[in-house]
């Protein structure tokens, strides 16, 4: 137990925690959306994130950036980030949609039991991870430093870098945008209707299969954004990069209340912060434990999560 470390670096740990938690939150949105509509843990979502990191990386390579290239000026930087964002978002969404069409939809048509869905999801996750693993010789890939870390200002003695600001800003924008989309738009109303009662929604003229596709597209887009932010921050990817992120993001989704969009954000940020406090208190090797222990304790006392499970009643 190292209380000096925790108390001395409290502001810095908090900021790092928020930064990491933001990425968890973006990935958690994918779990929450799919769970809210289909009552299915989409295990393959961690691989959707992984596909995003690789495609963004390859885009940058195609644009001529490698590990040795100098950081670009503002104009090319924005271009590179935007290109990476679009490619990663599209690739991730396409991966999520492919999994839905190839693996889940045939099962729904056959009214398979929930166990079959879960097993298929694991199968899909491993097929994706392994095909990337074999294709990339299971090697880790370093990335170009597009955005050099730079301290902008300090809060209570803790430095806040431009990357941290970017991650938190983008996450908040995506979050608010998605929340408004689900709560205000016509398509969003369809999502909420199917989440609440699929059969009644179908009777009212909502195309269930199209709503499900939309949910996978939205989740994939969010994972793509998270992948880009991950690339900018950690400058590294590997075929199994999604596994731990996916596990933590799922824990975050359950923490906030699975099926609840705002819960995913809250859960993600909370998990990131608590994880970093635990790392300060017990040492770095305990960091990955925290999310898991937090999840089990929460499941014991409040299985519906902090904000409750309600995509169908997301307005309340």
């Amino acid at each position: 137990m190292n209380f000096d470390e925790l108390l001395g670096n409290f502001p810095a740990l908090t900021i790092t925690g928020l930064e990491q938690g933001a990425i968890y939150a973006l990935v958690a949105l994918g779990y929450t959306l799919v769970y809210g509509v289909l009552r299915l843990i989409n295990f393959a979502h961690s691989e959707v994130f992984m596909v995003g990191t690789f495609t963004a990386f390859w885009t940058w390579e195609a644009l001529g950036y490698d590990q040795n290239s100098a950081a670009p000026a503002l104009g090319p930087l924005i271009l590179a980030l935007a290109a990476g964002l679009i490619v990663a978002g599209v690739a991730s969404a396409a991966t999520a949609v492919t999994v839905e069409l190839v693996a889940y939809r045939p099962l729904r048509r056959r009214n398979a039991p929930p166990l079959a869905f879960l097993i298929t999801a694991i199968g899909a996750s491993f097929v994706l991870a392994e095909s990337f693993g074999i294709g990339t010789s299971r090697a880790p890939f370093g990335m170009p430093t597009l955005l050099p870390s730079e301290t902008l200002f300090t809060v209570f003695g803790a430095a806040v870098t431009n990357i941290q600001l970017l991650i938190l800003g983008v996450t908040l924008v995506m979050m608010v945008g998605l929340d408004q989309f689900v709560n205000r738009s016509r398509l969003g109303r369809g999502i909420r209707a199917v989440a609440q009662d699929p059969d009644t929604a179908a009777l009212m003229g909502v195309n269930k299969n199209r709503v499900i596709l939309l949910v996978f597209v939205l989740g994939g887009l969010m994972a793509g954004v998270a992948a880009l932010l991950w690339n900018v921050r950690y400058e590294f990817t590997k075929f199994n990069v999604g596994f731990l992120i996916g596990l933590k993001a799922f824990a975050a989704a359950v923490l906030g209340g699975i099926g609840n969009l705002r819960g995913a954000l809250l859960g993600g940020l909370l998990l990131g912060v608590v994880e970093n406090y635990a790392a300060g208190l017990f040492g770095g090797e305990w960091k990955d434990f925290t999310g898991f222990v937090l999840l089990i304790v929460l499941l014991m006392f409040r299985p519906t999560g902090l904000l409750g499970e309600s995509l169908g009643r997301a307005r309340a």
Partner: protein
């Protein structure tokens, strides 16, 4: 009764088997078991006329030590039989099954090894029951809070559990000694008629025989459980938990039992593995293995012990054998490298077209067929 039902149709293997006299069935079973015991012996193949050392082998794996492969296959079969109790009988998805296996192995290592920080240096045999207990108790601790919830939370919590155990063992320099691992675990006791120890380093056959014996014991136990009141409670819980609860089945209790029994079998397997290996570290307990065991159970046929055996044999033995065959044909195809990818694909396709597995459990197959029928009218509405 089966004979009257099958009349007029060509009788399948299963029906003919069931129609045979009891003595014949017992004799066939005994012959199969004897065959399994003599399988790793080289003289058996020489007797059959296979030239040893050349590449013309029907069963032998040419690329790796055959007895070693059989031992690993037996590990998988025993794990599959144990996991089948959890996934097949009780219908709980346990993705972290290898975590309990790791716990069993580490418990034995810590209690017996002279290098361990505990410094107890027990004999192997004394540590085995403790390993089984530790695995079982951790199963109860893990299952207690999660089994009350929806089944899908259990999947993710067990997945996290197995990975956390591995991560802890890999990173912490404390009790599990990180990547260096724990060496010097003693072998099982016993000496042959010539005074040499029965369980040595080079020869994997005694370990295979030990595991085979354990497999037979566990199968007898599990079979009896499945056909008892407990087994009926598992089936009822799996098919409809609410209905079972209303009918007075304490579903939580029986789910916890299934989980604990599965964990205990995994702990036992881990203990034997540690005794053979004499050295363990975190690299031996990767997540892929958890998934392979699950794939074994699903491929073979969920809820069927025979299926679990077939599945366990397929997931480990077949890729090793194919390596030898590939060499024979001059193809450098390492099936073990693509194992996870192939099993992932097979599992997806299987869940769609044959969810009941290769050797299906009759009741499970009927459940799937039933649900499929229920889906038909719904599909007509929603596809408009």
């Amino acid at each position: 009764m089966t004979a009257t039902v099958d009349k007029g149709r060509p009788a399948g293997f299963k029906a003919r088997w069931a129609a045979m006299p009891k003595q014949v069935r017992w004799a066939a079973l005994a012959a199969l078991i004897v065959l399994l015991y003599i399988l790793p012996n080289k003289w058996f193949y020489e007797y059959l006329g296979f030239p040893i050392g050349s590449e013309y082998f029907a069963l032998y794996t040419t690329r790796s030590d055959f007895a070693g492969v059989l031992f690993d296959t037996a590990v998988f079969v025993l794990l599959a039989v144990g996991l089948n109790v959890v996934v097949g009988f009780a219908g709980l998805l346990d993705l972290g099954y290898f975590g309990f296996y790791a716990l069993g192995a580490y418990t034995v290592a810590l209690l017996t090894s002279p290098e361990s920080r505990l410094g107890t240096e027990w004999p192997w045999l004394a540590a085995v029951p403790i390993a089984v207990m530790v695995a079982m108790i951790s199963g109860v601790i893990l299952g207690g809070p999660t089994l009350r919830l929806r089944g899908d939370y259990l999947a993710i919590v067990t997945l996290g559990f197995a990975e956390m155990i591995r991560l802890y063992a890999a990173r912490s320099e404390g009790i599990a000694q990180g990547q260096r691992g724990i060496p010097g675990i003693p072998h099982p006791p016993g000496s042959g008629s010539d005074g040499k120890p029965l369980f040595g380093v080079v020869d994997a056959r005694p370990y295979y025989w030990l595991l085979l014996t354990l497999i037979l014991l566990v199968i007898v136990l599990v079979r009896n459980l499945a056909n008892s009141r407990v087994g009926r409670a598992w089936v009822a819980t799996r098919e409809d938990e609410d209905a079972a609860e209303v009918m007075g089945v304490p579903t939580f209790k029986y789910k916890l039992w299934a989980f604990a029994i599965g964990a205990a079998v995994a702990g036992l397997t881990g203990a034997v593995f540690a005794g053979k290996q004499t050295f363990i570290n975190s690299d031996q307990f990767v997540l892929e293995s958890s998934i392979l065991v699950l794939a074994a159970v699903i491929l073979g046929g969920v809820g069927n012990i025979k299926g679990a055996i077939v599945g366990g044999a397929i997931t480990w033995y077949l890729p090793e054998w194919l390596r030898g065959v590939g060499e024979l044909l001059g193809v450098e195809f390492d099936a073990a490298e693509y194992r996870i990818l192939i099993f992932g694909l097979v599992v997806i396709v299987m869940m769609i077209f044959r969810p009941q597995g290769i050797v299906p459990n009759r009741r499970r197959a009927a459940e799937f067929a039933d649900r499929r029928q229920e889906a038909v009218p719904q599909e007509k509405v929603s596809s408009e």
